[in-house]
């Protein structure tokens, strides 16, 4: 099973779990399974039309899925899928 790594800012939506085993055969299947399990995660990862949002990158191994087969990129047992979010800093005051 492939491994899916959740970054810190999104762990609040996964009960603080940092990684998951996924049976998904493609990136899309892996993300779908994850967002079904944690529906609140969905809007942080996907646009309404299902596309990956512009402030999140998905990697399989060292490669951006945009350089591979996008959401259809296939996964095998050794694949590591990383979700990489935009982070700006630990500042408390910016948005509140």
């Amino acid at each position: 099973m492939a491994k899916l790594i959740i970054p810190t800012p999104l762990r609040k939506f996964t009960d603080n779990q940092g990684s998951f085993e996924t049976e998904g055969a493609t990136v899309q299947e892996a993300i779908e399974t994850l967002t079904e399990l944690f529906p609140d995660l969905k809007k942080h990862l996907l646009e309404a039309d299902g596309k990956i949002r512009s402030f999140v990158r998905i990697y399989v191994g060292d490669d951006d899925i945009k350089a591979l087969d996008h959401e259809k990129t296939s996964l095998n047992n050794d694949s590591v899928v990383s979700i990489i979010p935009a982070i700006a800093g630990g500042s408390a005051g910016e948005y509140e």
Partner: protein, 381 residues
Amino acid sequence: MSKTSFSKEELERYSRHLIIPEFNIEGQRKLKEAKVLVVGSGGLGAPLLQYLTAAGVGTIGIVDFDTVDDSNLQRQVLFSMDQIGKPKVNAALQRLQGLNPYITFKAYNTQLTSENALEIIKEYDVVADGTDNFPTRYLVNDACVILNKPNVYASIFRFEGQVSVFNYADKEGNRGPNYRDLFPSPPPPGLVPSCAEGGVLGVLPGIIGSLQASEVIKVVTGMGEPLSGRLFLFDALTFETRTVKLMKDEEQLPVKELIDYEFFCGIKDQKVEERKVKEITVQQLQKLRNSHSEFQLIDVREPYEYEIAELGGELIPLGTVMDNIDRISKEKKVILHCRSGIRSATAIRQLEDAYNLRNLYNLKGGILAYADKVDKTLAKY
């Protein structure tokens, strides 16, 4: 042109560089001739500025508009207690000039804006982005792209750090990916971690800012392979590090001019959209309490914030307010509060929209204002 020379004192100071065969006096000369601008003198700026100063970067610019606060000292090891309240650039200068007298410093006690960014950045060879917010990150990036400057980027959040070298020209003069190739646009404010979800492990900027300093030195001296076209990721909790490939995003339009970055990041937008809610001041709350009037006080912060300071309100975190409608009075005056008043206003809007309640009041300025104006024994955070 005559070669940049060093005094006896400088040669002795930098001797540990000079005896590295690959570095030697040529590397030191490039450092001395270099002009590096550090944007932000906070958590990342502290190691960055100290190591760049110690290493002998000839001219260092520092941009920051903030003043030193006690809560900075958990991670901003450039500052000390006697500097609290002072402008950060002045406090930084005081420390850095004491560290290395052979450096020319230029301090900008101002916020980097679309109006001044090009004027400031054009004087420098390399920019190091150690800021803490999305608008300034896009501003630094775009200004560097317009002016063809390499941008050594680092960012931190809680236990995680990211490092990359953006807009780096290789030997053929081809520019590598920049921040917009990585993240074409920022998360809308509602989606980014708010203050309740911010925070950073104090040592993390020390680690990540040191890596950033190392990349600045590599870019300046031309040593090794800068982290261009790659993104380094560090998770202090698992001690996992990854270096992934970055590519240019062909769909990105070229950056031609600076824009309104607050607007771009949806901050101004949000301010306009928000509907006003009824407010009560901290002094009015104090009077209500003293007169033992009937009212309900609800705290919409998270439990770990309640541990830092509280006003005795019922704890119903923002995310659970709608599920706890039964606990909210429909008759009495209900006062909601959070840290600064933003989350409690959001809670009120949600409740008003869903249940048409008209008895809800927002504590203006939140527990921070209460700590400032009513109860000075409360801890601010």
